[in-house]
Symmetry: D2
Subunit: 338 residues, 4 copies
């Protein structure tokens, strides 16, 4: 039974406490938060739990095996470093850090301390994304030809975070699981049409080898909410619509095939295959519970999680590069030393 | 009553003949096509019409007031030039020409000959686009903040035309009508993931002054057909879904407003307004008939059409620049001398 | 400040406690439940509240002004009678009683004791239904021509309640608010195709004067969930789709008009009007909170609620008659002495 | 090669001529219509075809093998009788006749003359319905538990035909193909809320043995067009939405199962199974072409068609009984001597 201390009991912390407490192999034994109201809320729900305003107490507690961090991003580095230094595994809210430099230092330190970091890129643990990955593994998609995500809605403008860090971060976490190989280029074009000082609309494109393109359309200024991802393979194609209650994943037996007919090749080299569509039953249990179970499993065996520190650091790097490209009006930046 | 000669009776020509023949102020008196089967088809439907294999006959015929050209794009320049030279107005299928250079020469020549060119960018004449433009004119949209179009489907791969020339051309024609001012930059990132020799997926972005961005997502490799355009204004926002039979246009009383509350300004500078949605009745008559009526009106008064030669040449220029940017991995190209 | 005692803290009781406690003018001071686990749950959330296993304690408590009853339907009569007898107002979960006879006795007794009964037909208090009623009051719908509801889903089979009492009860509560006049006939055809001993599919039709028909399609055996109500008026028509997150109510400027053209009258007496569609912003706050506020207002002023005892008894009568008609294979039963 | 004469070239006749002419095994050699304008239309499209105003000429022509009748329903009996009498097979537009009596006489006469009648219930020949029937034949649906159709739209009011004859006729033709056994009861409740003299709204229910119910909701007064049929089986359930361009048929692996758990049986006798959904590719070729091919095949082999005279007569009987039930406020009428 893994014993967790949770730092931060504001917006997301209560969810972490709940799922870690109801998981088969873990319990939360202590919570730290600097805000009195948050501590009272925790105490009300969990009278037996240790509640403190000092995160260091949790980190220093030898009875605690792992630390979960749900505090503002700029505090992640120091807290995670201290937890690793105390020999503890760490769950960190996404993004891992506010800079690639810090993120990579953490990863290096975790390796040195032989402890695991799991970055809570929750989307990767949804039933829908796991279904897509299982189709990929079974060879049902074939070679992935493109990834195209529309992730738009009205608001919410956030303090000091632009639309890329707010929304594209989810796609980056999915893309890194889904696509083979590594991205070689990134471009982002963004705008701030209300002139508020933060980009509210952005088009981000990742280039992969073999002409594979991953595109993410993000906006805080759309009158309708859209969460739709298209994944085209040379065997089948997927529409993943996260707002559909019952048919989140649709697998289309559709594609393009090279015609063998020499006469048609003159006019048109390809023909279309249109077959059945399958909308599989998707596990609708809470993604966060899967994350918790996965954390417990990886921490117990001291093996790297699906969304481990390295992956988390790469996502931070993509976010930074997207910002840099956007500042250069969409210049395609090479991604080196991946 | 304007008398038309129509050159080309393949895919689109029959539609032009039909609408010009049923328009109030015009009749088609002659058709030219080099393919015998096409001529027979025309003769079967219009026994009284002059049918020939020689386009020059129509152009030379003094009884003909205007020429409509529905032939492959590389023939547009010569045919349109000859028709203008013979003092005739010209309807040309989109795109006007295969190069900006030729397109601009045609425009110059039309001005010299004091004749009009109408490029058949049919979308501009749909009830839906005209409704959007009327909302814009009435001030109901307010300042346009962005344009975002998704125009994707499975196929059709075409010989010698990539997905930008096939699909983005429609958005360019709408954007040039809708947005005030002029585009100052263009970027396109495209890919050919099936390695057939023609780009099947492309992300195109136009920059306008004041942080206004127009983005077009085009693909021939989508398992689902999407024709959705979002137009965000600071007064209201529009979703134009061309595949909806009854609610093509939805006008949302939604937006972002600057809060006056000094306390909230610290945390978040904006708040959201969410009101009613209106789906107006949209004129469902054939867009091409409106185009024909507009052509007749403009030619009779010798005044420039909505999609005249200048607009058509600008669209060709955007298409060329998009190709050029795509060849430079999405480099943002400045648009000068507009 | 009204003081409530809540009897029953199983499935629905906790919601009643929550909304009555957060309402502006009421507080829950005591909860009774015979199940120890339910009492513990209540005690955990409301440490200061009086928790008992004996409903009679609450009813006898002179500090309590009103009783809310969320127990099985067969207990409603005795509990409500006792509460009224003690001079208290009463909120009862729907349906009011299991028989018209008991329901009418309760109504009579409440009148004698000069106390109010509010039956918790929650749907009537939703933003969507209130919007429809406001349109009706403003004359925007015109004369209502029909009501047609599809309320189908997979499950849930319930013990001793058929699909009519489970689902049609909601439509009856809406119909009685919406339609003028009174129903004069009722027919129900039901079936139990799985032969489980309870009807899982039913078609219920209410006849109103002037050829107005209200139809309700209910099923526990549909693969898809549908909650769609069509309301046709001679001025406009409404589609109320309760599963739509953003456009629950759509008001269509559509209808049938009598043509004045004598020539067309021979062939066809009517023509169609098709105009704009308006999807108003609908109050999305919890319906139950509105119910609580309405209860407080009515109890304080001792005036009859929208879904008072009389309405509740009429709904029970319609449910009973529907069962009776179903047992006679859909015989249209006259509704007398309404 | 079957030679057809087509009587009636108004609304539907041109379609019959086209498909019979393009079928592999038939040609139309003559057309009769009493309206000069219709004859001219036919002559323009088919210069080589014999065109006459006298139907008797076609019927008497020994070179003609079969007669297709697309005239008003009250003329069907005389024309079909004469054609059969002349030894010809007959295609008749639906409904077969305006009365059961006439329809049954025709069927009897065809049997005596050893000729086939095919009633053009086109829906039965659509790719969607054929897909449903093939699933039924493969045992994928299991025992059919219910059929539930919503077939509503705005208009069109027709002269002397109510909404039952206009719309429910399609469902009757599908139901008779789909459900095993035979209907034992029928009820219809209809209304004419605009008091025009023709019923515009109707609820029709067919009872089958074993508690199977087929329900059809028809209306000419709906602001939205719906063409949705639910078919519940004990193995899987189908949603057939004829307005969906790509997913007309959805097969749900959903259902109700009897639990073996004795503890749960007390509370609830059933549990729910929720699995994948499959939307098969549906043959999108024109249903009428399938009808024509089927007619040719059946006439050549002199074997009864899927929608032969007997089926056509039964549908007329259901329509008559529905009218009769409606005149008795929905009385459930027994269906005898089926």
């Amino acid at each position: 039974m893994l014993k967790y201390g949770v730092i931060g009991y504001g917006y997301w912390g209560p969810n972490l406490v709940r799922v870690l407490n109801t998981a088969k192999d873990s319990r939360v034994v202590a919570v730290a938060d600097q805000v009195a109201a948050n501590r009272e809320k925790a105490a009300g729900l969990y009278p037996a739990m240790k509640i403190t305003d000092d995160a260091r107490e949790l980190i220093a507690d030898p009875a605690i095996d792992a630390i979960a961090i749900a505090t503002p991003v700029t505090t992640h580095f120091d807290l995670a470093w201290a937890a690793l230094d105390a020999g503890k595994h760490v769950i960190v809210e996404k993004p891992l850090c506010e800079s690639t430099e810090k993120a990579e230092k953490l990863v290096e330190f975790a390796a040195k301390k032989q402890r695991q970091i799991l970055v809570d890129h929750t989307f990767v643990y949804t039933g829908a994304v796991r279904k897509v990955l299982s189709y990929r593994d079974e060879g049902r998609i074939g070679r992935v030809l493109y990834y195209d995500s529309t992730r738009i809605n009205l608001g919410l403008y956030q303090k000091d975070v632009n639309v890329i860090w707010d929304l594209a971060v989810h796609d980056f976490s999915i893309i890194l699981q889904l696509l083979p190989g590594r991205p070689v280029g990134i471009s982002a074009i963004s705008s701030d049409p209300l002139k508020i000082g933060v980009e509210a609309v952005a088009q981000i494109t990742l280039l992969y080898p073999e002409q594979v393109m991953a595109h993410v359309n993000t906006s805080w200024l759309s009158p309708v909410k859209v969460r739709q991802i298209l994944i085209g393979g040379d065997k089948s194609m997927i529409v993943y619509d996260d707002l559909e209650p019952d048919t989140k994943i649709r697998l289309y037996d559709k594609g393009v095939e090279f015609t063998q007919d020499p006469q048609r090749q003159y006019a048109m080299k390809v023909e279309y295959r249109v077959g059945d569509m399958l909308a599989p039953q998707v596990d609708s249990r809470e993604a966060l519970s899967h994350m918790a179970a996965h954390a417990n499993e990886c921490f117990a065996a001291n093996k790297p999680p699906l969304t481990g520190g390295e992956v988390g650091a790469k996502i931070v790097r993509l976010l930074e590069l997207a910002d840099l490209s956007a500042s250069k009006r969409g210049e395609m930046l090479c991604i080196e030393n991946w």
